[in-house]
Point group: D2
Chain length 373, copies 4
Amino acid sequence: MTISINAAFDSGNIVVENVDGTSARLSIRKDRESDFFQWFHFRVSCAVGDALDLAITGLADSAYPDGWSGYAACASTDRENWFRLDTSYDAKMGGGTLTIQHTAESQILYIAYFAPYSMERHHDLVAQVAECEGVTYRCLGTSLEGQPIDCLEIGTGDTQVWLYARQHPGESMAEWWMEGALEKLIDPADPHARSLRAKCRFHIVPNMNPDGSRRGHLRTNFAGVNLNREWDNPTAERSPEVLAVRNAMDESGVDWAMDVHGDEAIPAVFLAGFEGIPSLKPAQTEKYKAFETALAANTPDFQVDLGYAESAPGQANLSMSTTQLAERFGAVSMTIEMPFKDNRDLPDPVAGWSPERSKLLAHACLATLDQLL
Amino acid sequence: MTISINAAFDSGNIVVENVDGTSARLSIRKDRESDFFQWFHFRVSCAVGDALDLAITGLADSAYPDGWSGYAACASTDRENWFRLDTSYDAKMGGGTLTIQHTAESQILYIAYFAPYSMERHHDLVAQVAECEGVTYRCLGTSLEGQPIDCLEIGTGDTQVWLYARQHPGESMAEWWMEGALEKLIDPADPHARSLRAKCRFHIVPNMNPDGSRRGHLRTNFAGVNLNREWDNPTAERSPEVLAVRNAMDESGVDWAMDVHGDEAIPAVFLAGFEGIPSLKPAQTEKYKAFETALAANTPDFQVDLGYAESAPGQANLSMSTTQLAERFGAVSMTIEMPFKDNRDLPDPVAGWSPERSKLLAHACLATLDQLL
Amino acid sequence: MTISINAAFDSGNIVVENVDGTSARLSIRKDRESDFFQWFHFRVSCAVGDALDLAITGLADSAYPDGWSGYAACASTDRENWFRLDTSYDAKMGGGTLTIQHTAESQILYIAYFAPYSMERHHDLVAQVAECEGVTYRCLGTSLEGQPIDCLEIGTGDTQVWLYARQHPGESMAEWWMEGALEKLIDPADPHARSLRAKCRFHIVPNMNPDGSRRGHLRTNFAGVNLNREWDNPTAERSPEVLAVRNAMDESGVDWAMDVHGDEAIPAVFLAGFEGIPSLKPAQTEKYKAFETALAANTPDFQVDLGYAESAPGQANLSMSTTQLAERFGAVSMTIEMPFKDNRDLPDPVAGWSPERSKLLAHACLATLDQLL
Amino acid sequence: MTISINAAFDSGNIVVENVDGTSARLSIRKDRESDFFQWFHFRVSCAVGDALDLAITGLADSAYPDGWSGYAACASTDRENWFRLDTSYDAKMGGGTLTIQHTAESQILYIAYFAPYSMERHHDLVAQVAECEGVTYRCLGTSLEGQPIDCLEIGTGDTQVWLYARQHPGESMAEWWMEGALEKLIDPADPHARSLRAKCRFHIVPNMNPDGSRRGHLRTNFAGVNLNREWDNPTAERSPEVLAVRNAMDESGVDWAMDVHGDEAIPAVFLAGFEGIPSLKPAQTEKYKAFETALAANTPDFQVDLGYAESAPGQANLSMSTTQLAERFGAVSMTIEMPFKDNRDLPDPVAGWSPERSKLLAHACLATLDQLL
Ligand SMILES: [Ca+2]
Ligand SMILES: [Ca+2]
Ligand SMILES: [Ca+2]
Ligand SMILES: [Ca+2]
């Protein structure tokens, strides 16, 4: 039997170049109005026992070619439990080819760059959290395609904390992190949550880029715009998603901010900060460093060795949210990066970095915040 | 606070004409390339306690203007449990206006013509059933927008039974019926299922019109085509969904067929048959009538008084699936119609006709089939 | 490693004669103050891969020696999912020996005569049903050991229907049947339930013998009394459980009654009636026969060929509940018998007769009752 | 209607002195062969709206008369969700009377000293954890009534960690803590669990006193013996439960030990250590103090101000497990005490200290252990 491949669903992205029996040659569609591509998500239908041999080609031109070496593709038979497949990368073959080989144990196999977080699940999450006692829902605005920018607010304290995710829509681990954060924050028994709800006002935007999410983009919105380069000057035409959130931040002020991301190349969880902003204050840096140190003590899944190079003094790119918020509000702001690959220091060959680990990382981040406040 | 209305999600459909505080004037978008409209599905965000007053106007031109009188809108706060809202219809106001009034008990309220069945839920269903022992998955083809026409096959017997639904995508109860049918058929303990799996080969297409479903259509596919008028001559250009299914039927043959629908106007569950086909055989009619009689004995939710007028001898419209299959295969074929309103004979003011009742009706239909075989 | 066997828990019953490696010689403890024994329930702890060889001896003296031939023991690793084990019976060895052989796939294996229904699960069921709208809870009295005789009442109609189970505590399928009956009757969507709630007043006693249940008895209460031989003259000293229920029946009257049981020897589901009662009325017999016929049409798991011999006219034993209620109230009363073995006509080598099938049988019994009323 | 009170179930304990309408005078049965009493657990059946007025008398003679002031009784309608009731204590009335007043919102209300943890739930937990990859089950011995002393072993490291609970059976929060600990330790995604499984060998005894648990005891086993005064000289006659566990500890050695308890009087979570043992080593004390400090940093539900007075040097009572293990093995051993009342520092008037909080405390204890190793 010849396998069949389909990606016509929420966040689906694959181009079928050729299918031959149980082998296929595939490529990835670019983000609309953009040259970025890296996210893939498709369904294979096949027979149990098929020796699947799937080659995703042309990856030397992908957004992060360093992302493929050491990476293993994610898969699920039931769309709930995700595991990793045997995967290898050859930079020289077919313009950069990722080869996935798997003996099918089911007739339907979903394969993705990371476990997807659909807009339907997003709406389930928002509706169910909005019903919880003490939670306020706000629609901050709409995306270019008219999807709501949903914001959930929790807590009665004075410290303004903003959590937001998925500026880069293909980094779906960021919304799993959000699901974990929300579960913890609404837990009536959790002592950190109870403490944080008394100290803080949380403003939580689980998905800042619904259009890119639904379309299976890696990095941009409907207009092909990288939202995390718009924070100095968001516009209704290019980046209404950022404009809506930044306007709401201007109303509330921002004391702490966490911008949740995935990183394609680095096999670790790490933070990126705001060291290069013009107005940098020692107390601000100190709190950031204290958070980073405490988080490293709080979870073996976080580390401080691997990460991005710091900006030189005054050289921060203020179009990014973390630097913009640090500069604009004096906030302790941070980018939280999780790997597409695995955590090098605590590897799990079966699951790799996973939705469950993303959720537990969110728990640790919130516990750490509680410790510092 | 002013309420906010959004429909930019799977099967969403509403046009916001005007919002004033907690009141809104709305209308329904037509199916693409078509004049049909009746399905609506949108989200209201508001404050608890808001006196919502929502007017959907222009309904005199809807596909089934008789569908509005005696109808109550469906709503959910958590997207799982659906209930009915206070609803009234004034045919003379605003070109036919449905008025929904509700004091909000939550900050988010989903409102729809009937409890939606999303494509994500569809894919969950297909993937999970495909993993069950004894189930074969087949992709019969793709829709105009490239979505798969999924078919699940169960059973080792010789009687060929085809179950298919949602030719008319706004009739979402039809896919709830399918979920009920599949749950029963894969139940390892159910005696009817065990008996049927031995007697029959089931071919089950839970959704024949994924494009219309996702787009929030009432009645047509991406090309504005009513699929249930294409069975005499389906084409790859207009109706590949029907072509794919009919080709597969030609391979297997069809002994029994159930085409699952919702009816906008009639407040009852009823069958429609194939009495006007040229080749009508007494045994065929007899089996159909026996099924109808037995089903009425098997569930208080089915009846035989209300329904469509029968075609005169030889006057059947062979572009419809039920008649086409009866004529083409000598099948005992039937259209199963469930109400958007409620079952007049067993009304439930809280839930009206519901997903749960649709699923239980499927159980009764399968038990009845087992009795007759 | 030597296996370890324990039965010191709810409904546990085994005597360990000898353990040698992964083999054990066992016997069954008699019901307190009685010679009846047949129910067993114990836990084996072992190593994965152990070749378990368990011999239950002395069964020629058990209550139903014909129960062992063709019987397979029930087992579970997680206490939720129950399956059958390889089992054989040798009437001549060791005074009648049942041999269970199984290669352990888990470290803990529960083995029982039938899937147990614990008193904790009973209390969960009662508490959760008692919270449902329209349900009245009554404590009808207490057992000899002080446990409550719980009764749940549902429905607003005039027809008085009594459902009661587990007079014989080792027949645990009877309480699974009850769980199925209660689930259906409280389902807000189920059309039979909605119809029955309007026509009837149900009085439901899920467990008439909690003392015997907890103690792992087959057939008697704390005093060694077979409750189903006490209905002509129940006493506070010997059978307060029956006295409590019969007194409540005297208050309400009884139109229909179902006494739910398991049968050790016959591999089928069948009814037993009241044909030998002095006051037998044709209409009463007719309704009973109509129920039996309709039930056979409604579920492939019921049949009318196998069963008990009927009593001769006037020869009914009025100490049994079915005959007593038929005589005392003119009720259409019946004993529903399910097999410990399997249903010969629809065998399932994996599960045999099971909790799930018991629950589905209850659904069919209630649907049938609705049809006849 | 007159209410009905029953306690004839797992861990039930109440004596009904008198019932008058919706009021009752009650007392608590002593532990068998002992004068200890404090645990209660009973079921009230009543009508919705009943003004329940329940007086538990004679409490001046209870084991911990200081436990009643500031205490609120626990209740549940569904046996899953537990909440606190309006409760007051008058030391001078009726020999010490706890008065519970509540307007019934359900027909069945379970009331207990703390949310119970039944032996059935215990067996579910043990069977389900024993099936997890990497878990070894051992039956260490049996209680005086023949119940198994279940031990679950996890981890491949060299550090021997013993977790054991419910020496005092009425301290049911201790087994909820165990459920939380086991859930975390078997979680394939949890980074602390993954780290701990590599460093340690866990030996986990969720319930050391099954006889007392089932019988509704506060503090002793079947023989009326306080197991936590037997560790210097456990015997098969008086304390086989301790003997079995201590023998297994002698085999494995003990590096860290947590003995989980509830405290009746002190409204806080705290540790008790081993400061008075003869062989006290500075490093041992240091690790204990480091754990206590880190735990206080890790959860707002733990504190170090309230607690027991420390023993003077050399004055430790070596019959208690914590001191015995510290002395015998040089272990870092600790008694973890949770309140029956509430955590004074983070009070929750609705739930008080709860099963959920007990489970989260276990998570924090394990995270803390991972930090220190
Ligand atoms: Ca990113
Ligand atoms: Ca239709
Ligand atoms: Ca029986
Ligand atoms: Ca204690």
